[in-house]
């Protein structure tokens, strides 16, 4: 099967007389927007039907049908308003800082999602599906945290050293996948899934050793990282937004440059498009696999460093916080492009940050965010379905997501 995000010819291609009213880019944006609307709508149904107040009103639905609808509306509206207030702008706050803090919080949460999303998006281009961001984040976090709390270095140097540690360990973990794929043909999806668990148990083990466990504690948590090793805050004490967000944007720019302006990027895309043709053209396919997975691992490791040097300030068993899995949805929603990944990362960062507020204010479990996220990606991946639901015509091609090959070949 095709090995990159490809455009497949539509089985029901419109006739030549169909006017091309929308550009493919606009069409993509439209499908993405409609997917978002659909996902929120399904989320709303889930919120409404599971609300005890709604159920109570539904008990006398035939006597007072309006009551049920009002209760459902209140339930959904309350949850989504709180979500928005937690993600973007909180008008109820008394200060300016308080009202825009949700936005900065969204960006803070988005930073690791963006780099981890890039760690998934970049290998897409080379025809590899990296499900292992979770494990690579964990290894990066281990490297950053260990260097961060064990040593005491001057300001600036310490942060740099700790971040390098994260890049190195994450890159190493990623390159195992590339090496195994290049040398033995082991499928990267299987290897990365398995390495996620290996990394998790490795972390659990390390946090029981004296080198990593915080003195005087029995639970799996490391000492706090040195002040000099932490990412500096960008806006002062009122927001958690730290330098990591800027680093994430730089990383995205780097990936864009790598893919579109460098020789290696050209080779990666060639390998992704057709490995056999790339090999014939003299590109070292195996080397590309190792390199791209090493870079991807480094990017995911960077996300780990954001966690321990930016927000959490210590290594714990749950340091990866599922970012590696969200990263897959981020990269898919971003359609594998660096710009798209940044935008998708900010969107999902907002959903994550807003979900916390929503749960605190309305008691709506934050898990609804996972539902919305996964539904968006499902719909985005199948534009024909979205078009069928909204009865809009295709702009010419069916761009069904196809990124990976089968296990066997």
């Amino acid at each position: 099967m095709s090995t990159s995000v490809t455009e497949q010819a539509s089985p029901s291609a419109p006739g030549p007389e169909v006017r091309r009213t929308r550009s493919p880019l606009l069409d993509t944006a439209l499908v993405t927007f409609l997917s978002f609307v659909l996902a929120l709508a399904i989320g709303a149904v889930l919120i409404a039907v599971s609300d005890p107040d709604v159920a109570e009103a539904a008990g006398y639905f035939f006597a007072q049908p309006v009551d049920t609808l009002t209760a459902a509306w209140d339930s959904v509206w309350g949850a989504y308003v709180a979500l928005f207030q937690g993600a973007v702008f909180d008008g109820s706050a008394s200060t300016v800082q308080g009202s825009i803090r949700p936005l900065t919080e969204s960006l803070t949460v988005a930073a690791p999602l963006i780099v981890a999303g890039l760690a998934v998006a970049l290998p897409f281009k080379a025809g590899l599906f990296n499900i292992g961001a979770e494990g690579q984040i964990i290894l990066g976090a281990i490297g950053a945290a260990y260097l961060g709390f064990t040593f005491s270095l001057p300001w600036g140097v310490h942060l740099l050293v700790a971040v390098l540690g994260a890049l190195l360990l994450g890159g190493l973990w990623g390159s195992i996948v590339g090496l195994l794929k290049a040398r033995t043909g082991a499928h990267e999806v299987i290897v990365t899934i398995m390495l996620n668990y290996v990394a998790r148990f490795l972390l659990a083990y390390l946090l029981t050793t004296t080198a990593f466990q915080r003195p005087g504690r029995n639970d799996p948590i490391s000492p706090t990282v040195d002040q000099n090793a932490q990412y500096p805050l960008l806006l002062g004490g009122w927001s958690r937004l730290h330098l990591g967000f800027v680093v994430a944007l730089v990383a995205a720019a780097f990936v864009w440059w790598l893919l579109n302006r460098s020789v290696l990027g050209f080779q990666l895309r060639a390998v992704g498009a057709n490995p056999s043709a790339a090999r014939t053209a003299g590109i070292k396919v195996e080397r590309s696999y190792v390199l791209v997975m090493m870079i991807a691992g480094g990017l995911a490791g960077l996300a780990g460093s954001f966690q321990v040097l930016g927000t959490e300030k210590a290594l714990s068993g749950g340091v990866s916080a599922g970012i590696g899995f969200d990263a897959i949805t981020v990269a898919l929603l971003g359609r594998g492009s660096p710009t798209g990944t940044v935008l998708a990362g900010i969107l999902f960062g907002g959903l994550r940050a807003g979900g916390v507020t929503m749960q605190a204010r309305t008691g709506t479990p934050i898990d609804i965010v996972l539902v919305v996220q996964s539904l968006i990606v499902l719909f985005v991946a199948a534009p024909p379905l979205v078009r069928a639901i909204f009865r809009i015509r295709s702009a010419g091609s069916v761009d069904t997501l196809q990124v990976s090959k089968g296990w066997g070949a």
Partner: protein, 434 residues
């Protein structure tokens, strides 16, 4: 892919049979090399480095059994040496075969693995006592959801649809079976609800992969997130606040089969279990026969290996695929029901905890066959239970490394370090009729 030959299709020779390869073809020495390494490891660690003068004790009966057997007591170090020597002999035989340009047969690897595991047990239990029956019983219970999950994977992937969503099937099955059993107060209703939930998830999988040709791995990954989200949401919204009515299903009581249940060691392990375990025996048998002994199975395998050829002879490829995905979802859903109705007795948030991925590993490790998947699932269940038993009696190995073992074993398997595993040729490739 690394080797060009890997892209060749189903005609690749069966690897496990002890047949001579074509003259001139290179013979892989990976198997004898790895067997030798494991044998050496066993001799050194379980023999040379084992504590001398102590013994390992294995209890063979449970306290309530009618016939009480005397516990098996073995001298730790001497047994380690003896088993190590046996392993060395097996490795040497594998070398002999390799030098005659022949492959190491599967039975040899299996026997080797079994002996190695026993040597490991003797070493780990040195100067201590452990109940062998209890260990095996716990292993089987941990393996049940893995068996259902990996069978679901086999059913899907034999038809050419990659199933990464096993975790989602299991979780959905666990959730719905607990809820339905609680609300109706009927465990059997819950047992029916489990496969229904798996079926619902499978319908989404089939819709997106078979109907809309979306990348199968993507759909699987995203469906897992969706199921985690939906079950987590409803758990927080309904199951926690209204636990008595929504989340207290209870569990199936074990049913002892007369006569068979009285066999020492094996009886309590295999024939004194809940109905879901017996259902597992049935499903494994049925899936094996259906896939390899019936016309249905032949068609499924044809679709998974060479859909275009299957289409040519009139098999409706995507219908077969969709049907198999649905059956697979239902099978995994039963495994999900085991979490709530078979063992815990209540649903917990993300209670499957990655078991779906171990099931995926078991399917790969079992070479995409029902019996292989069964064996691998039992092995992984054994490793899981061994880990918890050893962490209670105290062990020389940190439990985290034991927990890693199934995942590492799978990586070794797909990397071809312990024999080669090969997926169905068309696995993961959407079939778009041209």
């Amino acid at each position: 892919m690394g080797s060009v030959s890997a892209t060749l299709t189903p005609a690749a020779a069966p690897q496990e049979a002890a047949v001579a390869t074509e003259p001139g073809a290179p013979v892989s020495r990976k198997t004898p090399i790895s067997l030798s390494l494991f044998a050496a490891l066993a001799v050194v660690v379980f023999g040379v480095l084992a504590p001398s003068g102590v013994s390992s004790t294995f209890a063979l009966s449970l306290p309530g059994d009618e016939t009480q057997l005397t516990p098996l007591t073995l001298p730790s170090q001497a047994t380690g040496f003896a088993l190590g020597a046996l392993l060395a002999v097996l490795a040497a035989y594998s070398w002999l075969l390799a030098l005659q340009r022949r492959h190491t047969p599967a039975w040899l690897t299996i026997v080797f693995g079994g002996v190695w595991l026993f040597a490991f047990l003797v070493w780990a239990v040195a100067d201590k006592a452990m109940s062998l029956t209890g260990l095996l019983q716990g292993s089987l219970l941990l393996a049940v959801p893995l068996v259902f999950g990996s069978l679901s994977g086999v059913l899907c992937e034999r038809a050419g649809v990659i199933n990464i969503a096993i975790e989602g099937h299991l979780l959905a099955g666990a959730f719905l079976s607990a809820v339905v059993a609680s609300l109706t107060g009927n465990l059997w209703a819950g047992l029916i609800a489990g496969p229904v939930a798996g079926l619902l998830v499978a319908m989404l999988l089939a819709l997106f992969t078979v109907r809309y040709f979306v990348d199968q791995i993507i759909v699987g990954v995203v469906l897992n997130v969706l199921v985690i989200g939906v079950t987590g949401f409803l758990y927080g919204r309904l199951l926690v606040p209204y636990q008595d009515s929504w989340n207290s299903p209870g569990t199936f009581a074990p049913i002892k089969i007369p006569l068979l249940g009285d066999i020492p060691v094996i009886g309590p392990v295999l024939f004194d279990q809940s109905v879901i375990v017996y259902l597992m025996y049935v499903v494994v048998t049925v899936v094996h026969i259906a896939l390899f002994k019936t016309r249905y199975g032949l068609r499924v395998r044809a679709v998974g290996e060479h859909p275009a050829a299957a289409d040519t002879v009139g098999i409706r490829v995507n219908v077969v695929r969709a049907r198999n995905v649905l059956i697979a979802g239902a099978v995994a859903g039963v495994g999900g029901a085991f979490f709530t109705l078979g063992s815990v007795g209540a649903f917990g948030k993300e209670m499957t905890a990655g078991k779906g991925f171990i099931a995926l590993a078991a399917m790969i490790f079992g070479r995409w066959t029902p019996l292989g998947a069964l064996a691998a699932a039992l092995l992984f269940g054994f490793a899981d239970n061994l880990q918890s038993v050893l962490s209670i009696i105290g062990t020389p190995i940190p439990s985290e490394f034991m927990l890693m073992a199934p995942y590492l074993a799978t990586i070794f398997a797909v990397a071809g370090l312990v024999g080669r595993v090969r997926a169905p040729a068309a696995d993961g490739k959407p079939y778009i009729k041209s």
